[in-house]
Symmetry: C2
Subunit: 129 residues, 2 copies
């Protein structure tokens, strides 16, 4: 199977590694052409290859680094999650954002849906809680 | 607002505390009467007061203990997440399950949807990875 938990978790680890390598092409290769990205949840959804390429093309140029804080979780369906910190250089020093991503996969093992859970109060300046 | 991130995160911490106190009534009081619980994701959904009371009535009697492994995450919508280990006494000693819950809240601040992401390979016997 191309959407079993072992595959999904490997893809999520590849997502983190590719993102941290600032390799937008490697990141977007994980997504299906018709995928949706809602980041953060509650903001407009990006749909399809062009919008996703643009989103990650930008996101991988801002010096952000993802740090997993727990192993990926699977499910009994086509979904898996990662929970991580995004380390960024903010306007007033380093900061991090606490995030959980829920990813759904298609039958070909590509990500068809990414939903990133984080709110304004998940942004923490260095030294803050 | 009764479904802002501060409220949602406080409710999720109360969920963990009430669960660990084996207090089913305190847990189920967090849920709306028409709530749904999908635990784990990919298995049949429990709907409504009677099914949710039955589910947590059982879950709080098996000696499970929830340990948050990261702060709750909010969103820009009515959803928040917790990522935790469930420590249990398994048939061959202690074990834990790696889980992420996505909870959605109604306008009254009650949980209307809980989706628990964990798969068979998120069950770990003590001493295993």
């Amino acid at each position: 199977m191309s959407n079993d938990t072992e595959h999904m978790k490997a893809r999520l680890r590849e997502y983190v590694e590719a993102f941290n390598a600032n390799d937008a092409a490697r990141v977007t290769a994980l997504f299906a052409d018709n995928a949706t990205v809602e980041d953060p949840v509650g903001t407009p959804v990006r749909r399809g290859r062009a919008e996703i390429d643009a989103f990650f093309g930008h996101a991988t140029t801002v010096g952000a680094r993802l740090e997993l804080v727990a192993p990926p979780r699977g499910s009994h369906a086509n979904a898996a999650t990662i929970t991580f910190k995004v380390h960024i250089a903010g306007p007033d020093g380093t900061a991090h954002i606490d995030v959980t991503d829920v990813m759904e996969f298609d039958a070909y093992g590509k990500i068809v849906s990414m939903r990133a859970y984080w709110g304004a109060d998940d942004y923490h300046r260095a030294g803050a809680a």
